[in-house]
């Protein structure tokens, strides 16, 4: 990133960077009309799609996308690939389920919104703690430490039955706005949609703040930023806390979606699912999180009907094998994920259309 000239920036003869006035180009019109169309489809989704699609595919893709974007945010702006996001969303989910009304756990009967806020706060606090632990490590060490933390959270909820209610907490109360997500999927759908849009805009805003810029500087050259007087570990820790906040929101939505949470739902398999979604999305492109999540949920739903049976090797039950193979192929063939493929296509398209 450093050294490369960002699009829209031109340098004059003395080398001072200066913003070029945004020009109305064909590519720009194309992009904005695509965004507008997509937004329209999202808003009208309850009318366009069946309620099965709305709840089983779209709503699930939205909250899984939020979980994945918390990973992509850390990866893109902080250069940290974190596998702790599922552990953090488990903390949010279990905290909320214990504080609110539910069957199992402590069911303290708090208002669902207050319980949700407390859940996100708990995830953020643990995120800051995890961040403080892992922030001094880089690259592959960071990956290992966060994976270990996530698996420890899973084992904790598996063991500590007073918090996880013997195999899970069921019938978790949802706020009135959400109601029963099975009978009325629209409420949770719109809530997840609004949350997704706000999070996306929030991350984009955060990236432009002095904090976000410093974070990107640290990603590119920690030693230089340290020499300039920035507290590298603190920035990375705070970014991790922000990522945990986003993951916490995904945890709350996932519990409202399933109206239950169990240790089995936040195991290493789910950690890998979120990683796969982020990798499909490309690890560097925020919107890719939701595209990866959409692909994941569609595959999850429909592979069970069309996967051919090949002995014990393949069959309707073998979604994880299919997912692993897709993951393997993407990492082997296109490290940029689907977005990498798309960018290649778009570059050609723009060339054909001209500016």
């Amino acid at each position: 990133m450093s050294g490369a000239q960002a699009p829209g920036v031109v340098r004059d003869t003395v080398g001072v960077a200066r913003m070029r006035r945004p020009r109305i180009t064909r590519a720009r019109i194309l992009t904005w009309s695509a965004v507008g169309f997509l937004l329209l489809v999202c808003v009208l989704a309850p009318v366009i799609f069946t309620s099965y699609w709305l709840s089983q595919i779209l709503t699930k893709a939205l909250w899984l996308g939020i979980a994945a974007v918390s990973l992509i945010f850390l990866s893109r702006y902080g250069g940290m690939i974190s596998l702790a996001q599922v552990g953090l969303y488990a903390i949010a989910g279990f905290t909320m389920a214990n504080l609110g009304s539910a069957f199992g756990g402590h069911h303290l009967g708090w208002n669902p919104w207050v319980a949700a806020g407390a859940g996100v706060a708990a995830a953020t606090l643990f995120g800051l703690l995890f961040g403080a632990i892992a922030a001094r490590s880089h690259g592959i060490y960071f990956l290992m430490i966060t994976l270990a933390l996530s698996v420890i959270v899973f084992y904790f909820f598996g063991q500590a039955t007073s918090f996880s209610g013997y195999g899970g907490i069921r019938n978790v109360a949802t706020p009135g706005l959400v109601g029963n997500p099975i009978i009325h999927p629209e409420g949770l759908y719109y809530l997840s949609l609004v949350a997704s849009i706000l999070i996306l805009m929030g991350i984009r805003y955060l990236a432009r703040t002095p904090f976000g810029l410093a974070l990107q500087g640290i990603r590119d050259d920690p030693a230089r930023m340290r020499a300039l007087g920035y507290n590298v570990s603190l920035h990375r820790t705070l970014a991790f806390g922000a990522g945990a906040f986003i993951a916490g929101i995904a945890g709350i939505l996932s519990v409202w979606y399933q109206t239950q949470i169990s240790p089995g739902g936040v195991d290493i398999g789910q950690t890998i699912n979120v990683l796969v979604i982020a990798v499909i999305g490309g690890l560097y492109w925020l919107e890719g999180a939701w595209i990866g999540a959409l692909l994941f949920t569609v595959l999850d739903n429909y592979s069970r009907t069309w996967l051919p049976t090949v002995g014990l090797w393949l069959g309707p039950e073998r979604f994880e094998t299919l997912l692993g193979v897709i993951f393997l192929l993407i990492v082997l063939l296109s490290p940029g994920g689907l977005v990498g493929i798309w960018n290649g296509l778009r570059r050609r398209l723009v060339k054909v259309l001209g500016h």
């Binding site: 632990i133 490590s137 990956l143 420890i152 063991q159 007073s162 073998r318 094998t321 193979v325």
Partner: protein
């Protein structure tokens, strides 16, 4: 510093106090019931031995090649399943052993060798096919091994089912041996600890005294230089990966006899290996010994001694593993013997 207390020493002081409190509590429990203390301590030692066998392979691969083999736990579990099935189909050993049924020594040793060698071959194939050509892209390699672990976990579930099984030890061997006034399992104490000692000794001897060991040590420090000296680094890498996978396989058969083979064990042993190297430092054999001992004893003591009067906190024993990791990373971010890449 003069008379002022250096505030930077405060965390270490607190840690020392915490350590002293833990030791005092264990000592108090030990005086209450010494037979239990011996058993729990031997649990810790035998777990540590098993963790070491598995984690030694993990740390060897990482130290030399900077590859984090996230499929290490899957290789471990696959070895257990292979040995279990061969024991059943080749030697007719039933999993629910009736009283008086005999298991010959060969019917344990042959599956052990078979499982270990097959896993060694699988690991070598993995390195040659998936990892060799993207040497140096450590994140991509880690993702590839994660993908492989997903596939292996699902395939093992399909082929071997979800029920916990265990490999039968030979009936010729005694069930237990007398130790310090109590009895302890023969297999765990003699076979597993003995195997760990032999493997540790062999690895140490090879790394310390042979030409191969010299190349490995040099490779850990500076791969490019070793390759510039005309040594076939690819061959050394393949050899290291083979040994690492063989160790995972060997450990898997030991663990499948000592504990169980069942889904989920792969994640547990990946976590164990990760923690061992986080504590000991990546690529260090001595670090793996200390990391395994620390993790083994913490696991064993936490499972039993987290009872304070009538409050039973053994359900939260995993938190002590967490504390162990946190403390280690707070004091030494690269582990005890870790060095920056």
């Amino acid at each position: 510093m003069g008379n002022r207390l250096d505030l930077r020493l405060l965390p270490r002081l607190l840690l020392a106090l915490l350590g002293a409190a833990v030791v005092a509590w264990i000592a108090y429990k030990a005086t209450q019931n010494s037979a239990q203390f011996v058993t729990v301590s031997l649990n810790g030692l035998t777990l540590a031995a098993l963790y070491f066998v598995v984690a030694a392979g993990f740390t060897l691969i990482f130290g030399l090649m900077r590859v984090v083999n996230m499929a290490h736990g899957s290789l471990y579990l696959l070895a257990g399943y292979l040995a279990f099935t061969t024991q059943q189909s080749w030697f007719g050993v039933s999993s629910n052993l009736l009283f008086g049924h005999t298991v010959s020594v060969a019917s344990w040793v042959v599956p052990l060798i078979f499982g270990t060698i097959v896993i060694g071959a699988v690991g070598l194939a993995m390195q040659q096919v998936l990892l060799r050509w993207n040497q140096g892209q450590d994140l991509r390699q880690a993702l590839l091994t994660i993908a492989l672990s997903v596939i292996l976990a699902d395939q093992m579930l399909a082929h071997f089912g979800g029920i916990a099984q265990s490999i039968q030890q030979p009936t010729l061997w005694p069930n237990s041996v007398p130790v310090l006034g109590t009895h302890y399992g023969f297999f765990r104490l003699v076979i597993v600890v003995g195997a760990a000692l032999i493997i540790g000794g062999l690895l140490w001897g090879v790394i310390r005294f042979t030409r191969l060991g010299m190349i490995i040590r040099a490779g850990v420090d500076d791969r490019a230089m070793v390759s510039a000296l005309g040594i076939n680094v690819q061959l050394v890498f393949a050899g290291a990966f083979l040994i690492g996978a063989l160790l995972a396989g060997f450990g898997g058969v030991l663990g499948g006899t000592m504990i169980a083979v069942q889904p989920g064990i792969d994640a547990r042993f990946l976590l164990n290996s990760l923690i061992v190297v986080i504590i000991g430092g990546m690529g260090s054999l001595g670090g793996a010994v200390i990391g395994s001992l620390a993790l083994g004893f913490v696991n064993a003591y936490a499972d039993v001694y987290l009872q304070f009067g009538s409050t039973d906190l053994t359900n939260y024993s995993i938190l002590l593993t967490f504390v162990l990791v946190v403390v280690m990373l707070a004091v030494r971010p690269l582990g005890l013997f870790g060095r920056p890449a």
